[in-house]
Symmetry: C2
């Protein structure tokens, strides 16, 4: 038995007890006659005390030599502290040290093990085992554990069964790029790591499992962005004999349960539901942040025909009313103009109207529109004196998206995106297909197994772009937390879908024949959802970065810099796999 | 809303209710005037009834056309059954059908969806989604889910945190063969899939996580046997500031909790603990089945020097007493002789002594030993009249193992291995190292991170084979359910260990430098265990085969015959990975 207590539990109730603690030396303060040591473990910090004259000199000498992050085992009596710290559970007591055993030494860590560390990203990743000692990072992973276990308990109570699906599965070119695993027993052949267990969970529905879930690792070999990882975790679910409302209600229940149990936040109302078309029309995004308004107002009818070429030639003129920003300086407006003109946003310019406190109106297009006309705009936007109207014009989709970005930028500036406020939203009625200009064919907006809306099925032949899907996304604070759909469960419709996506019948059968064959043996109607677990946890943790909520993340080059992976393997192993590595530059 | 109830819940309490059920047609019985349909879903079977004259003729015609495994949606009134079936929850009622909707048709399944099916292994695997509809297979996976969730709840209450470790990690040649994943971003380099999260969980201990667990997929590219799968699941755990007893007690607690909550079996006593040496000496196995006795008795001193060359030249003469088998026929004895001479067992012959009911003695070595001498054997074995003594002689280790196999064979014949009886056992004090004759070097018996016993450390230099480890296995009914050890947490000792295992300093640093470096920053003493989840579940399910407890297992060639994986991938993808597949036969 190494210890009698952890460093996070002793209080006044234990005064007088002789205890043994283990942990890491957070810091040593030597104030002449008195030495204090902060001893840390996962559970907290307990203060140790030694006193010249009262403590054994040998122990005092040992204490003075302790370095940061040394591992020690300490015994002594619990005493009441002279100067208490009400912020800490253990703040009322300290341990009067009787013995100290140095269990392990530590070199000086390359960065401080404090809430605010002096270590940069790269260094912290290389020494991730030290970074994980820091309270905020440790708490992130404890939050992750808590959300996982509460998710499981909720779904278990709703009759869901967790079923593990294979990690070594089959490569399919549809969707993102697969990671592949060469087979030694079948040289020249490869397994693929799952991008999601989609087909397997559908097979479980065919198998009659009714309600399935899995918290499961998925893999995508994509070029990485800040919030993408090559391996990520999903809460993956599927249900049989359900329609869209059943699924939305079930998983709204899960999210509410998690907010309540993990964050003590109750949502009394049902989550709002918005069509994809409305989301694009009023927010310029399929994942609107509805913690604040600033919804889009279209001006096409009001502003054309006044000789302003930008408006007259634009497919769409659309704007937002920004509350209280009429006093934005020229410089601030210029910054916004630069913002919308960035290549990734792509607007060609920004028009503004100041509705001043004195109810005068001033705009960047005063040359074309007089005060009376501008007042009509102000009326349409329902602006109040002191507001600023920002307008973009151009091609419809691009302009909406650009204004969507500007809307978020303004909200950030105005502090309207409080991470402690949560605004969930279901976005529904997505289009089934997206046209890809490069490959000149349709792609499935969700995936090829998503069911078209029943009334739209005939449009698959005549106007596929018009077909809507029984597909839905869960959005919280402008972040897509998850998405799903009602699935196709009929072999002929699934074949039709592959045909629309440009598969030959042979390709479809070769890649997804096992699923279509399964549909011939009594497939039930079914649908499901997958929630991005890393993202859900980071949202609960109030952060944008999923990396802070993953124990051992990879960097943007897909490397684990701590263990130095990926790495070369032995020629013997390549030979067994029947593979040759092409030399660089060839 | 598809249904008001499942097929497993309606009872007499619901008589008179109008309900809607969905499910699969198990069978249709048409008895002239009455038609019964058994409707099945995950939750049970509900009987439907239609009656000529009373039911709508159109519905009756539809019912008559229903085939096995059709998916239907049925509405009607719950009525009390004339002839009740007390074996079924729903056995008191039936549904008088009002409407039937055929939701999906089914081709005739290739095998019957019954508890005892007519489908062979290969066919059931190809149509696994149909096999999973069978109650025993479905129940296996529900058992798996139940054990997983109870495991998590137990460990959560014990302060364990589930942390997900990477699936894309680093290849290490020590241990079994890795599955590897070529990296596209670093062509010519590979990730490896984890054989276990061993190094990561140790880093989590260095990080101060204190108690870690994970139910996690692991991977080994080995040639497969009946109860091996290329991907398998572990309950993986690690604790800090613990000694061996802490770990044994914690996980004995888990196993007892699982037996109690899942199987309603209580273990009042602590699990017996046996040293590796005793296990080999008394059972000829490091995973003895202690549901029955038949422990080994050594005869060396008693039987040498009587001119029987086999004994005189043998390193070890050892036997078991088999109760009540003195009347085994010549043919039965011959079968046993054949059994022990099988190449995988490898004994050269079998000596027997019958201790007959009339207290006479008859042996296969009467030429060398008289009745008086044999009576001494009988005495040593503590045999009762009617018992049979079976003796093997030869090289020590081989003979023990062979007798261990014979012991299990005899227990099988005598029905002493009741799958409803559970006999857990801790085997402790394993040797640290095993000598490999082929490679002429030591291998770690558990893995290179296992700590030698403190008092044996000096032997690492002088006689490594004598070093014992703080390593332990959990064995239940002769099945190794898991194993673990106290780990090395000191850089120098870890370096020493790699040196004993034949690593150059450079190789050790290159492959495991990240872990040894971590040990320099305040590594706590720690240890852990990994339990084979597939095997644990199959033990609870009373089966020898883990495959029956995995939703989508691979066959012995590592193939998923349902989805046909592994398979070839496109040349474009190989090019991106910088790989060339060597043609077959080259």
């Amino acid at each position: 038995m190494y210890r009698t207590h952890t460093c996070g539990e002793l209080t006044l109730n234990s005064v007088g007890e002789y205890v043994t603690l283990c942990g890491w030396v957070q810091r040593v303060r030597d104030k002449g006659g008195l030495i204090w040591i902060d001893l840390r473990d996962r559970y907290g910090i307990t203060q140790l005390i030694l006193e010249e004259g009262k403590s054994n000199q040998e122990i005092i000498d040992k204490a003075k030599k302790l370095g940061r992050e040394f591992v020690v085992k300490v015994s002594g009596n619990v005493i009441e502290r002279a100067s208490k710290n009400p912020k800490m559970t253990t703040g009322d007591i300290e341990i009067f040290v009787d013995t100290i055993e140095i269990v392990n030494q530590s070199k000086l860590p390359p960065f401080t093990i404090e809430d605010q560390t002096d270590g940069g990203d790269e260094l912290r990743m290389k020494y991730r085992y030290l970074d994980l000692r820091r309270t905020p990072v440790k708490n992130n992973l404890m939050l992750r554990h808590r959300i996982a276990i509460e998710t499981r308990n909720y779904l278990d109570k709703q009759n869901f069964i967790e079923v593990e699906t294979p990690v070594l599965m089959k490569s399919t070119p549809e969707g993102a790029r697969d990671f592949v695993v060469p087979s030694r027993m079948s040289p020249g052949e490869f397994y693929a790591l799952p991008q999601s267990p989609q087909t397997f969970k559908q097979l479980l529905m065919v198998a009659g499992f009714d309600c399935y879930y899995q918290i499961v690792k998925c893999f995508r070999d994509e070029d990485l962005r800040a919030d993408r990882q090559p391996e990520f975790t999903q809460i993956d679910c599927e249900m049989s004999f359900v329609d869209q409302d059943d699924i939305l209600n079930t998983f709204e229940g899960l999210i509410k349960y998690l907010f309540k149990t993990v964050k003590q936040i109750e949502f009394a109302e049902i989550f709002p539901r918005m069509t994809f078309d409305d989301a694009m029309r009023f927010y310029g995004s399929d994942k609107p942040d509805i913690r604040f308004g600033m919804t889009f107002v279209e001006l096409n009818d009001l502003v054309r025909g006044f000789g302003f070429k930008v408006f007259d030639e634009a497919e769409l003129i659309v704007g937002i009313n920004v509350h209280g920003c009429a006093d934005y300086t020229r410089k601030q407006i210029d910054q916004l103009t630069e913002f919308v003109k960035k290549p990734q946003i792509g607007a060609s310019g920004l028009i503004y109207v100041r509705y001043n406190i004195d109810e005068t109106v001033k705009s960047s297009v005063d040359k074309f529109f007089n005060e009376e006309q501008l007042k009509k705009w102000v009326h349409l936007f329902n602006s109040k004196p002191g507001d600023l109207i920002l307008i973009l014009a151009g091609a419809s989709l691009l302009t909406r998206k650009a204004l969507g970005s500007l809307r978020l930028e303004m909200a950030d500036r105005l502090g309207l995106r409080n991470p402690d406020v949560f605004a969930p939203l279901w976005v529904v009625d997505f289009p089934l297909l997206e046209w890809d200009e490069e490959e000149m064919r349709y792609f499935a907006m969700h995936h090829p197994f998503t069911s078209p809306k029943f009334n739209d099925i005939d449009l698959l032949d005549t106007d596929p772009s018009k077909v809507h899907a029984n597909a839905y996304d869960l959005v919280i604070n402008g972040v897509e937390i998850g998405g799903g759909s009602i699935r196709i469960f009929d072999k002929l419709l699934q074949q039709k879908m592959f045909q629309v996506l440009g598969f030959t019948q042979e390709e479809a059968q070769n890649q997804f024949g096992f699923l279509m064959n399964a549909f011939e043996y009594g497939a039930p109607p079914h649908g499901g959802i997958a929630l991005g677990f890393d993202r859900l946890v980071s949202l609960f943790g109030g952060s944008d970065s999923i990396r802070d909520f993953i124990a051992f993340p990879k960097n943007n080059a897909g490397r684990d810099v701590m263990i130095d992976a990926p790495s070369q393997i032995a020629k013997k192993q390549l030979d067994e796999l029947g593979l040759i590595v092409v030399q660089k530059g060839k």
